[in-house]
């Protein structure tokens, strides 16, 4: 089962080479800076920075387009409703419905912010193995219970996903078709879900035994050692400056601190 993230971790780009902890801080800060932006004039800068980052990362265009497919439904729903339901200035009338300028601009703002943030997030997570990212988060202060849970869950999502596929195949081969909503169908699907839960629960008991047999909890687990160099720090500095630039620019363009309070 391909969860689609590990495909491009072996490419070579400045982002692939950027040490995981610095990359996390730098790009997450940029993402939050983007979410701060409300001024439409800053959107052009946002798009330019996003495109530049994506191009430098060497990730293929098809990757981000594939990612945008699913979340786009929510966006589409907003596009189809907001311009009609919100705003003051009518720009167009389609039958009984009025299209409002503010609604259209809101949709533009949301769409560009959303696409930019998703793209930066993709660069952050697709240029480093997810398990390294989680270890970096632990090194940056994520509680070890959370890190342990995340790493264990990550390890077994693939296996459990395959179990699901196998059971679904066997159900299909024995004639089960999900067509209409019925209590029988719901019960069967509940049994499917229940089997997955029980398998996982029972497997967890074995995993716990395997962990304690190899000394889990016996000695404090060493933090993964990350090796950083000057370039990592400098790159972080650059991204913090860019983020600061967006925030400052947005404030200067007239929204001021009141933007924080909506």
């Amino acid at each position: 089962m391909n969860l689609g993230l590990d495909e491009y971790i072996n490419l070579d780009s400045p982002f692939h080479r950027w040490e995981a902890r610095y990359k996390l801080i730098g790009l997450i800060t940029l993402i939050f800076a983007f979410s701060f932006v409300r001024d439409l004039r800053m959107l052009l800068a946002m798009v330019s920075v996003t495109v530049a980052i994506y191009v430098i990362s060497r990730l293929p265009a098809s990757f981000v387009l594939r990612r945008l497919r699913f979340p786009s439904f929510f966006l589409l729903a907003l596009v189809l409703t907001l311009p009609f339901l919100s705003g003051q200035t009518v720009v167009l009338s389609i039958g009984p419905l009025d299209v409002h300028r503010e609604g259209l601009l809101a949709v533009l703002l949301i769409a560009i912010r959303f696409i930019s943030i998703l793209t930066i997030a993709l660069v952050l997570f697709a240029t480093t193995p997810l398990l390294t990212t989680i270890k970096a988060m632990r090194a940056l202060g994520l509680p070890s219970i959370m890190a342990d849970m995340a790493l264990l869950a990550l390890r077994y999502i693939q296996e459990i996903g395959q179990d699901l596929k196998k059971i679904q195949t066997s159900m299909r081969l024995r004639g089960f078709r999900k067509r209409r909503l019925s209590l029988y169908g719901l019960r069967t699907l509940a049994w499917l879900g229940g089997s997955i839960l029980v398998h996982s629960y029972e497997r967890s008991e074995w995993v716990y035994k395997a962990m304690i047999l190899r000394g889990y909890g016996h000695a404090p687990h060493p933090r993964a050692e990350f090796q950083s160099c000057h370039r990592d720090v400098v790159t972080l500095g650059i991204f913090l400056l860019i983020a600061a630039g967006f925030i400052t620019g947005d404030i200067l363009f007239g929204h001021g601190v009141s933007a924080l309070l909506q």
Partner: protein, 214 residues
């Protein structure tokens, strides 16, 4: 039920993160107070992965199909591990599928996670009254599932509608939007409640120990 990136103002996102940090801190404290917190970690982690996978199952709801959330059952089975579990699940969803968001991770965890903890307490109530039966467990399962998703929908709709970048053309329209969104999600309450109930009955038959929590 996930709010994607780009919609909410940074104040709400930051508030969501603050709330999530507080609840996570509290949950971890409760976990550490257990007799053997380490024993619960593989159970909670694998169930987190299992719920993640189970949410991929399509439930046919004509004319379309939905993915289940099952935060009620997750809360019932995991107790205080549920909030970290949901946070991790949401993180993976955002990172692996772009579903939900990163800036909205905090607020989404509040939407899904707080009702899960409530569901844990609701489900525990089945122990009261003495009589133990599959029907009773199933009924409390339904309640836990439906209430959890109901509260999630309420918080989701409330936060979304009141924090869009523009104002609605009138208060009536805003109210109408809220009601429409809420009513559109009503069938979900019934389905989640029903499936949670069916799952509880199945688990009770096959592996009753799992219902006593991690």
């Amino acid at each position: 039920m996930h709010i994607p990136d780009g919609i909410l103002p940074i104040s709400v996102n930051a508030g969501g993160y603050a709330a999530t940090a507080a609840v996570t801190w509290y949950s971890i404290r409760k976990i550490k107070q257990k007799e053997n917190p380490r024993e619960g970690i593989p159970k909670a982690s694998l169930l987190t992965a299992a719920f993640f996978v189970v949410s991929w199952i399509h439930i046919p709801v004509p004319p379309t199909s939905v993915h289940l959330v099952l935060n009620g059952l997750l809360g019932a089975l995991l107790g205080y591990y549920a909030f970290p579990a949901i946070l991790i699940g949401l993180f993976f969803q955002a990172v692996m599928f772009g579903h939900g968001g990163l800036t909205t991770l905090g607020i989404n965890a509040v939407i899904m996670g707080l009702p899960a903890i409530l569901a844990y307490y609701i489900f525990r109530l089945r122990k009261l009254g003495g009589k133990d039966s599959p029907k009773k467990d199933g009924a409390f399962g339904f309640l836990a599932g439906a209430v959890a998703i109901g509260i999630s929908v309420a918080i989701f709709v409330g936060i979304l509608v009141t924090n869009l970048p523009t104002d609605f053309i009138s208060a009536e329209v805003e109210r109408a939007a809220i009601y429409t969104l809420a009513i559109a999600h009503l069938p979900l309450l019934g389905i989640e409640g029903t499936i949670t109930s069916l799952l509880v009955v199945f688990l009770r038959r096959v592996r009753p120990g799992i219902l006593d929590g991690v």
